[in-house]
Symmetry: C5
Amino acid sequence: MIHDADDAITRDGKLLILAYDHGLEHGPVDFEPNPETADPERVFELATHDAVTALAVQKGVAEAYYPYYESDVSLLLKINGTSNLWMGEPDSAVNCSVEYAADLGADAIGFTLYGGSNHEIEMAEEFRDAQEDAREHDMGVVMWSYPRGQGLKNDTSPDTIAYAARQGLELGADVAKVKYPGSAAAMAEAVRMAGPTKVVMSGGSKTDDRSFLETVESAIDAGAKGLAVGRNVFQRENPVQLLDALEGVIFEELPAAEALEQAGGDPETAAE
Amino acid sequence: MIHDADDAITRDGKLLILAYDHGLEHGPVDFEPNPETADPERVFELATHDAVTALAVQKGVAEAYYPYYESDVSLLLKINGTSNLWMGEPDSAVNCSVEYAADLGADAIGFTLYGGSNHEIEMAEEFRDAQEDAREHDMGVVMWSYPRGQGLKNDTSPDTIAYAARQGLELGADVAKVKYPGSAAAMAEAVRMAGPTKVVMSGGSKTDDRSFLETVESAIDAGAKGLAVGRNVFQRENPVQLLDALEGVIFEELPAAEALEQAGGDPETAAE
Amino acid sequence: MIHDADDAITRDGKLLILAYDHGLEHGPVDFEPNPETADPERVFELATHDAVTALAVQKGVAEAYYPYYESDVSLLLKINGTSNLWMGEPDSAVNCSVEYAADLGADAIGFTLYGGSNHEIEMAEEFRDAQEDAREHDMGVVMWSYPRGQGLKNDTSPDTIAYAARQGLELGADVAKVKYPGSAAAMAEAVRMAGPTKVVMSGGSKTDDRSFLETVESAIDAGAKGLAVGRNVFQRENPVQLLDALEGVIFEELPAAEALEQAGGDPETAAE
Amino acid sequence: MIHDADDAITRDGKLLILAYDHGLEHGPVDFEPNPETADPERVFELATHDAVTALAVQKGVAEAYYPYYESDVSLLLKINGTSNLWMGEPDSAVNCSVEYAADLGADAIGFTLYGGSNHEIEMAEEFRDAQEDAREHDMGVVMWSYPRGQGLKNDTSPDTIAYAARQGLELGADVAKVKYPGSAAAMAEAVRMAGPTKVVMSGGSKTDDRSFLETVESAIDAGAKGLAVGRNVFQRENPVQLLDALEGVIFEELPAAEALEQAGGDPETAAE
Amino acid sequence: MIHDADDAITRDGKLLILAYDHGLEHGPVDFEPNPETADPERVFELATHDAVTALAVQKGVAEAYYPYYESDVSLLLKINGTSNLWMGEPDSAVNCSVEYAADLGADAIGFTLYGGSNHEIEMAEEFRDAQEDAREHDMGVVMWSYPRGQGLKNDTSPDTIAYAARQGLELGADVAKVKYPGSAAAMAEAVRMAGPTKVVMSGGSKTDDRSFLETVESAIDAGAKGLAVGRNVFQRENPVQLLDALEGVIFEELPAAEALEQAGGDPETAAE
């Protein structure tokens, strides 16, 4: 973790990462609820929203679309990832070199580490190279710190998430993206373990607006520096409204209900 | 995927790839129906046909014959491949470096990825290197995106082919070669998933002229940008006639029957 | 082992290494007895104590904190390590390159070797590279020589620890950190086996002040050149007092009781 | 396959390779029938025979003897090979780099590929590097194309040998050394599959003069470009006589009986 | 094998290698019969004896002591080796790069090859690199050729030792160190198989003076060029006397009894 290394993907020290690597990691099934979400252009447009501090995509999507959005979107190139056709122990192919990410104009790299997998050691060594190469190119480093595999019984328990956050600090990530550990107290503990490494909450599968925003609010209250969100934004009918509300919760630290109302949503019921 | 990176192997943005790697992938058995097809020269001659936008061969065949066809044929060097003597989980040896492909005059590289194989991660990392090296040499990148192996139950289901096409986009291929997923609707979905990455249909084993052309027509109607064909051309008595007809279907977007008639074939019955 | 290669992390030829890689190796659980110990800054402050000749941390912690302590603390960068989420045969990921350690200002590198593990050979070859790279950067080399894994029945038996110490000499470590083998005689034998490679005792889990200091005294009497200590310092209420006492035992070669009394502790009973 | 790349090891486009890697591949047992054959010098002397177009040896033998034979013998350095102490799936260590082979004065490299072995892919990738490095040093490339291992039931069946020959062409060998597939017709088919890649027959274990020469004659008639022979020459009482006869069969295309008679042998009965 | 490449570690074309890698390979147990033998300095002193043509040690021991003996001792750096804590199939970690060995002032490198191990191929490829790197630095190459592992039933049978010696020649060693195969005739056969590669006998575990010297005499008579000896020298009360006697047997080709008497030993009975 190097102070200010993540400047290009933060706003007032906080992050709202729009993640769009589902086409690789989950496949077309993630686009079924809203077929037009298969089109990366739609997501690049969303990423121009003021609330979004970085867009996380794989190499091929960046190659095709980022040339048209370089001035409006900060690129967080997710350099590893694997299809869910893969049936082996959790692992992730390094699909893009850091140098190539830099050539594509990336402001930061994203890297998944599956702590506890029997590929953990190999992945940690790949992370070493990626992290050090990123330093050479003055790019920030975001770790998707996701304990998973043979060593794990429960991959969202408070202890596991606290450990995941600490791995981010120990191994040199500027930002650690972790699952929500089920409570604000557990999130606070993860944040404490990460020290100066910023913790961002992973959005997870889609829920209704209000409960999603409340979870984000509780994470921010617990010291998280933001959110990495995919399906909870791009699968919605009105993703811009939700981004407006997230802007309120994350950057203005408004209560979820107030932020949602201000964004034009209905704070009493789920928006969809 | 980089716009125009595949210019040298397309015509009006479409492709007709003549594939001739069967001697390695399947062995001499593929030449038995028509023994003279074992002779690469015969296929290089076919590749000079106006309809053919690229010829896909392995390194050794390119070394021996391409010097005589450089001005008439666009070379798509298939840089990985494996004999079918191999009994292991699907995998493919990288038989040619990208630099050597460039030295041989290749316009693009071809690379097989077996998504779902327990070698998927290793192959994806080899693809990364190949793709990035190809960018350095201004060569296009064609992915043979063929899910296969321990993770797959059905390697031509619509879902699988749609995922295969999306992998082409996500990982940075300019063109994704996929199996025909059984219907025009399924092909359209695969095309949609690939976004700006061009999808070409894989020819498969030999069928009669009319039904083969109709499948190609349906793929083109579904948005596919062309065809990669081997046995369905080179095993025929009159491969030139079929190439004439394919030119009609792919580049002039004629109905299969009309294209076949125009090429001098009998649209009512199978040509052989 | 090169004479004087470890000058920057010794004082009068002896060492007191404050080790703080528990966040990676053991996880947050090691901070539970004293929650504020999760904060690296607290340990960096302790490391400014005159008795501490080097602070051992992982890359990420060094990146974040060492810039503020460069003039007051000698950095022993622990370049490999693994989370205890890992369930495989003992192994350790190389998390930091030697060159990057040098860029961070490290005075020496630390490296774990699990002799007897079925990863021993791979780890020994990684150690080779690390050791030779360290020589190029004039950094000392400390081996955490910890036999463990399929080849070991008892990893703290006198024979095992003697062998561990010898591995340090044979493979080129300047300092070998070994577990206490249970008696002063066994420690003396380990010291003898290491020849000119300095042996330091590993602190282990927390015990009371008096008995801890007596073990250190016996190790020093047996020829050990010092101590690497983590939990036995940072988990205490009054770690400075213990560091004062350790200074007496290690550098002034005082009896444990006298050193403890001089440090203001109660030599009759355990301090906590 | 590059035209003329094998000029230095051919005569009128044909080859008689004297192979002497038995000391590594089979061990001392191959020298028992004629103990003095253990002495490489004896074989280097034989290699000065006009009929011999190249001598195939391993690195160590070339290092020790080739300096004295550089002007009289063409060196085909066999860069991979394995002892028969090896009990694993067929594989072959790369014992010599191509650059070192070039330094030793080699005119060509020899490389074994075990198609169908579960090491086939790794070997094919090693072959890629070797072949491309050989091109940089203007050396010819001879593939010992020997399907063997888990994928093979019968490693000398006509189909297998035809496939082996084709692998030579597809992967870029100038010459493919294959086992005799049992008949002239099968050899002709293998030759046809290899296209411009020259096929040479592998000599195999020792038989009598007449039948050996007849097999060679039938292979030449079938289009093979020569022979790689070891035991059938060096284990004989009068190896020069057999080389004289082989010269007749291979380069003058004489019938076996006539060539044997001309060489002073007894065409009616076996010579030994 | 290159003529004169081993000049720096031979005397009149013969070798007496004092081997002292037991601290790594066997551990402290080898020093128990004579505890002071754990001290490398004692062995370096012995290595200044005129009879000793090279001292074989691991990297760490060379680093610490060789600077003081450079002018009096020829250094044979043993670049691979493994502790006997290792329980896997025979293998040996490459603990020192050839370049670093050269920096340490080594005159030659030593390398263990376990023919028949399921790591044979990997080790042979590591040997290739080491051997070629040694050539670049004008260092001799000594192979510890020790068939062992899954492929071996009897690792000191005459056939095995003859094969081991031949591997030394084929793979490019200047000197092959082999176990004594049980008889002078078997040793002569091993020597014959190695051709110009010098064969030295491995000393093995300690026996009495007379019988040890007689075995050495018989090996020399059989054509061996010397001896590599460790425990049979350094475990003795009077190692200098034995070195005197070995000088007689190896370099003056005296009978064992005469050499022992001349050295002041008792030729009738065992010295200890």
